[in-house]
């Protein structure tokens, strides 16, 4: 059991700053996802935690212990890469047992743990098969099993599900999360896939361009993104952001979206925060799932540009005063491509961001739904 403290970490490669001052605490037993697009610094952060790379400045602490200068094999971390290294000349059982063998674990204990982990990852039927012939899905489970079996205090996973098919990925997400909840390891999980981060992590660290943007629970970053980057990156599709000007009408603060019209009054808390901040030019944000179709002259004017039914839901693409936006609806939604629509974001669903800084205005206390 170990917490991880990242203390003023920076990393430069030549003149390129891969990581600009990273400060974060990963709690003991926590499942932390490092999430961001490629080049955001998430893998660099993980490599520094693992000891594969040293930071340019700053320290990594496991508990109270400064890990500077401690080589990777001595850090007691389990590491699963996206290109899983499996010994192809060994069968599944031998691969699973390998890490325990080199540590000199007694054979009965090895057998017990192999049986347990194989059952957990549904590998039992493959135990005596040569690993060279296994499918990618099974290899991936084996790679996870091989790291998990030594029960490391810290478990690092770098995009472990990126090479497997979608249905299996959905199953593995659930199983990995369950595994972590059972074994209570401190888990750091690198991914560019917001869905993986949302579904598995206790908390998510969203990164962009070497800068930590926000740390929070999945629903915190979804409901109250700290800035426009997080707002767009989290969610599928991401949050809609339309440029607007805040105006007072009938004593209430509203957003003027130009050709699309003027919004319903902002929720009192948000209006108060916007007034306090003296906000004028903003991004008017709302989630695609928090949008309903209004009747008559209510709501905002939009054009329907594309209708995408994806199985259980229908994603409708809109043009709102020249800006693209999306809505997620039930499949019986009556919107046709090329038609006009009036849209009403749920009253508690609206978020505002300063147009200059991109930072959220207020919004730390209210949640959706």
């Amino acid at each position: 059991m170990t917490s991880i403290r990242l203390d003023h970490l920076t990393k430069k490669f030549g003149s390129f700053a891969a990581l600009k001052t990273m400060d974060m605490e990963i709690r003991d037993g926590e499942f932390m996802a490092l999430l961001g697009p490629s080049g955001c610094g998430k893998s660099t952060t993980m490599n520094i935690i693992a000891g594969m790379e040293g930071p340019s400045t700053g320290r990594v602490l496991f508990g109270d212990r400064d890990m500077s200068g401690v080589p990777m094999p001595k850090r007691g971390v389990g590491f699963v890469f996206q290109n899983y290294a499996i010994f192809t000349h060994m069968n599944v059982r031998q691969n699973l047992a390998y890490g325990l063998k080199v540590r000199g674990t007694p054979q009965p204990e090895i057998n017990r743990r192999v049986t347990t982990i194989a059952e957990f990852l549904q590998l039992t039927q493959f135990l005596d098969q040569p690993s060279a012939k296994l499918s990618v899905n099974i290899l991936q489970r084996l790679a996870i099993g091989r790291s998990a079996i030594v029960e490391p205090a810290i478990f690092l996973l770098d995009e472990p599900l990126s090479n497997v098919d979608a249905a299996f990925r959905a199953v593995m997400r659930t199983e990995l999360k369950h595994l972590q909840r059972q074994f209570k390891q401190t888990m750091v999980y690198v991914t560019h896939d917001q869905l993986e981060a949302m579904t598995m992590a206790d908390r998510i660290a969203v990164m962009d361009h070497g800068v930590l943007q926000q740390v929070g629970t999945p629903l915190e970053v979804y409901n109250n993104p700290a800035n426009v980057f997080v707002a767009r990156f989290i969610g599928s599709p991401g949050m809609n952001l339309v440029p607007a000007t805040l105006v007072e009408r009938d004593g209430q603060l509203r957003a003027d979206l130009g050709a699309a019209g003027i919004s319903a009054p902002l929720a009192p808390e948000l209006a108060a925060a916007a007034r306090t901040a003296g906000a004028g030019e903003v991004w008017y944000g709302f989630r695609p799932e928090e949008l309903s179709v209004a009747s008559g002259d209510a709501g905002l004017a939009a054009g329907v540009t594309f209708v995408e039914r994806i199985g259980s839901r229908t994603v409708v693409h809109f043009d709102i005063a020249g800006e693209p936006a999306k809505g997620v609806f039930e499949n019986d939604v009556a919107l046709q491509e090329g038609s006009a629509a009036r849209l009403a974001p749920g009253p508690d669903a609206v978020r505002l961001f300063d147009r200059q800084s991109g930072n959220a205005i207020g919004g730390s206390t209210h949640g959706l739904h």
């Binding site: 249905a167 979804y222 767009r232 199985g311 259980s312 839901r313």
Partner: protein, 353 residues
């Protein structure tokens, strides 16, 4: 432009049956997807349409005319290579012009064709730019323009956007669909991503081991899967498939762990298929119910995985409901949205649904 038809086409590589007695017809102007797992035969089909592979038996027809013996160049089908395949040292215009130079088309006609194609794809203003200075969508349009300039009878794309990250893929597929519908040309598209196939295809063929398991609109395949195989491949999270039988007007799982109030369950042991979005949770009645295994928030939706005996059952709920792991819940099913499958996987019509 052309329709593309396979009649009883078979292709073997050594002992491997890559395409097994396959017949289909892609209509002129259609956006048609081949979808399936690796080795299902998708790429072999594309290569046979292109004329790069010859079928062992059967016939291939374009617009009703046999082309089985026609070589790749004379078939005039364009494979669209994606943004990564643009020449980085050539401008957009240089890239588009390239196939014509290669074919020794005379200069005046090259300029005219490039201008026409650029207008069609709305890229006249970026022709001077290098690929590195174009957005993902612009690069895609340039790649398509490069194929279009040859005026092919159909376009083929082999998993073209799979290398991009999720957010960009969402944008690109819509862009592709828009371009295709503007152009009105036949587009044959291969993907292993069910969401992509469902989003963009007019019709799709779901493949397994060199055979078509179902062909139809994405909506049709999703709402009325012909087999448990198709049911499992489409949808995320995937359809719940549970074995059991009807007992006293209820559907009981094989190990008795949960009972669902379903009418019209066919006789004997069947597999019941329920999409996660058609399940909801209710407070448990005495004794009955399942245990919450994991709760996965998606933001706008929540996936709740239940453990019921050996089975895992997933429910996709709207919003952010409070559900505790390890708590007990009962399941409610939308009875109009239940599928039944026989032991061999074939879809059964419910007796009285």
């Amino acid at each position: 432009m052309a329709s593309i038809e396979f009649r009883s086409v078979t292709k073997r590589f050594g002992d491997t049956l890559a395409v097994d007695d396959m017949s289909f017809r892609i209509e002129d102007g259609e956006f048609f997807c081949f979808f399936g797992p690796p080795l299902a035969g998708k790429s072999t089909i594309l290569r046979m349409i292109l004329g790069l592979e010859r079928p062992d038996s059967g016939e291939i027809l374009f617009d009703g005319r046999p082309v089985t013996e026609v070589g790749p160049a004379a078939r005039n089908v364009a494979m669209v290579f994606q943004n990564l395949a643009l020449f980085p040292h050539l401008s957009a215009e240089g890239n588009i012009r390239f196939p014509l130079l290669e074919r020794k088309v005379e200069a005046g006609s090259i300029a005219r064709r490039v201008a026409e194609v650029a207008e069609k794809l709305h890229i006249g203003h970026i022709l001077h730019k290098l690929p590195a200075h174009l957005s993902g969508g612009e690069r895609q349009r340039v790649a398509i323009a490069r194929a279009l300039v040859r005026d092919p009878v159909a376009y083929l794309m082999d998993d073209p956007i799979s290398a991009l990250d999720a957010r960009l893929r969402e944008e690109m597929r819509v862009e592709l669909k828009r371009i295709q519908s503007e152009l009105g040309r036949t587009l044959v598209y291969v993907t292993h991503d069910q969401e992509e196939a469902m989003s963009i295809a007019d019709r799709m063929a779901i493949l397994e081991a060199g055979a078509i398991r179902q062909i139809g609109s994405p909506t049709d395949a999703y709402d009325r899967p012909a087999s448990d195989y198709v049911a499992r491949l489409l949808g995320a999270p995937p359809m719940n498939l549970l074995q059991g039988s009807a007992v006293d007007g209820e559907f009981r799982l094989a190990d008795g762990a949960i009972a669902l109030p379903l009418s019209g369950v066919p006789e004997g042991t069947v597999t019941v298929g329920i999409r996660p979005e058609n399940l909801s949770l209710a407070p448990p009645a005495s004794g009955a119910g399942a245990t919450v295994f994991e709760v996965e928030p998606l933001g706008g939706f929540t996936v709740v995985t239940l453990s019921a005996g050996e089975d895992r059952v997933r429910a996709l709920l709207r919003g952010q409901p409070k559900v505790e792991t390890d708590s007990r819940v009962a399941l409610a099913v939308n009875p109009a949205a239940v599928h039944f499958f026989a032991a061999d996987g074939r879809a059964l019509s419910a007796a009285s649904v």
